[in-house]
Amino acid sequence: MADKRRNLIRNIVTLAAIYAIIQLLISFDIIDQHLQLNLFLLCINIILAVSLNLITGFTGQFSLGHAGFMAIGAYVSAVMTLKLHLPFPLAIAASAVSAAIVGVLVGIPTLRLRGDYLAIATLGLSEIIRIIALNIDYIGGASGLADIPRYVNWPWIFAMTAGTIIIIYNFIHSSYGRACIAIREDDIAAESMGIDIAHYKILAFTIGAFFAGIAGSLYANYFYFLKPNAFGFMKSIDILVMVVFGGLGSITGSVVGAAALTLLSMVLQDLPTLRMILYALLLLVIMLYRPQGLLGNAELSWKLLKRGDKDAAATNSK
């Protein structure tokens, strides 16, 4: 218990320190506009990757439609702030809830599907969302919405990112999270242990979509403008790559994955084609040589950092 409390305190102190240092750097303009943009993008990507990891990494439901949930959140938030002039806290809450509702709707029909069939169905559903957005004039159709008010600042981004990580971490480390992992490991055995598989699959989709909706809202109210094609198939793949790169079933892995790939895009942003080639090669190399991702299903922790990750990696690899 004392050990747990010490860890908790250490985590709180670390979070507060990260928040304060970055806030200071922003205040003194050491983190300039350009860096700040990439930092915010990184945080949005972390939220997306961690929430997809809950669905795909922990519950084992292979989803290729995460961008669809993000799109719902982004559009709801944009319409509420731009067209209805509602306050941002309300908009972000509504984004999360509407994405979660869509998550339930996506979760229900996909219950009967597994593996690649589920992947292709979620891909289809998110494409349908995008095509519908393309055809609604109220939200700007293909040209999208512009001049969305910018409400997102560092406190917002930080709170949402840290909140997502903490809530999903806590969920995973509870009886509910164990049920999700058990479904991933062996759904027939999980059922025989009294787990209502349908309930948990939908729950995972709902929670995952909820946070993707938040990411969408942050995106819309930071970047001023959005259009449907930003939420296509490639965006879903992008998020999946972050999760896979970091390790399916590792929350810290998703953070590392999001950071690595956001950094890669930042460095190569003037060479978009080359960036995609590298991206593709990275995917192939990871799958061929380390299919479990950087961290596998281990978590980066204080203990691990101190000891070096040798023994933890040894128990978790393969």
Binding site: E185, D186, T315
Partner: protein
């Protein structure tokens, strides 16, 4: 004493093939009942029918607890919740989860904290989880595995994987335990230990056990009654002595080889 589980004229066919045909069995509280028969006789199919993995094509399957339940109408997780736990012939552990988590998972139906508590790690979550952890370790201790609680289940040796599956089933706190070939792949020493363990947990947890087993020393050693299946039909039932001398059983087994 009234039976705990009854199968009345139960059948199951797969595309015209009768895997189980008009089977009648009764299991009484506190009994250890054996289910034997050559390969492909329909033993595991019967387990799958009892646990709701398959729906019977005909007949009735009932669990007689405080209320009578029609098992044909319940889904697998509901049946587990009613107190029927099982192990699998081909070991279905949650491989990447730790030994402890495998057991803790099975307490799931008895959890008393909400999703809200879980997400915010409220005092009610903390209290409930640490209680659960204590119980799970206690259970693992019975199986001599408490010292292995933190390693992934897949890293256990084969015999211990089988034992962990039983421990996991017990964590569900069942009334009826179904064991599908618990001694498969074990050496004679492990088998002897397993028999002692089964007898012990039956008394300790007040269980009724139905078990499929090929190892006759196990079946004859611990079962009070035995049912014999062949080609989906019940060909004999009785005490171990009756079964040993039953000519039809001998024929079914010799005909197999």
């Amino acid at each position: 004493m009234p039976p705990l589980l009854t199968a009345n004229d139960v059948s199951k066919n797969f595309g015209g093939l009768n895997a189980i045909a008009n089977v009648n069995i009764e299991v009484h509280p506190g009994e250890i009942v054996g289910l034997i028969g050559p390969n492909g006789a329909g033993k595991t199919t019967l387990f799958n029918l009892i646990t709701g993995v398959y729906i019977p094509s005909g007949g009735q399957l009932k669990l007689h607890g405080e209320v009578e339940v029609d098992l044909a109408k319940a889904s697998p997780h509901e049946i587990a919740g009613m107190g029927i736990a099982r192990t699998f012939q081909n070991i279905r552990l949650f491989k990447e989860m730790t030994v402890l988590d495998n057991v803790m998972l099975a307490y799931h139906v008895h959890i008393d904290y909400s999703l809200w508590d879980a997400i915010f790690h409220t005092p009610s979550y903390i209290k409930s989880e640490s209680e659960l952890r204590r119980k799970a370790i206690e259970l693992l201790d019975i199986f001599d595995m408490a010292n292995k609680k933190d390693i992934p289940a897949k890293n256990l040796p084969y015999g211990q994987q089988r034992r962990l599956e039983i421990a996991r089933a017990l964590a569900l706190q069942p009334k009826l335990l179904l064991l599908d070939e618990p001694a498969a792949g074990m050496n004679p020493q492990e088998t002897a230990d397993l028999m002692k363990l089964i007898m012990w947990i039956k008394d300790r947890f007040n269980l009724t056990i139905l078990l499929i087993e090929h190892d006759m020393s196990v079946v004859m050693g611990i079962c009070q009654r035995i049912y014999v299946l062949d080609y989906g039909k019940l060909i004999a039932e009785g005490t171990p002595e009756d079964i040993k001398s039953n000519p039809q059983v001998i024929k079914a087994y010799l005909g197999e080889d």
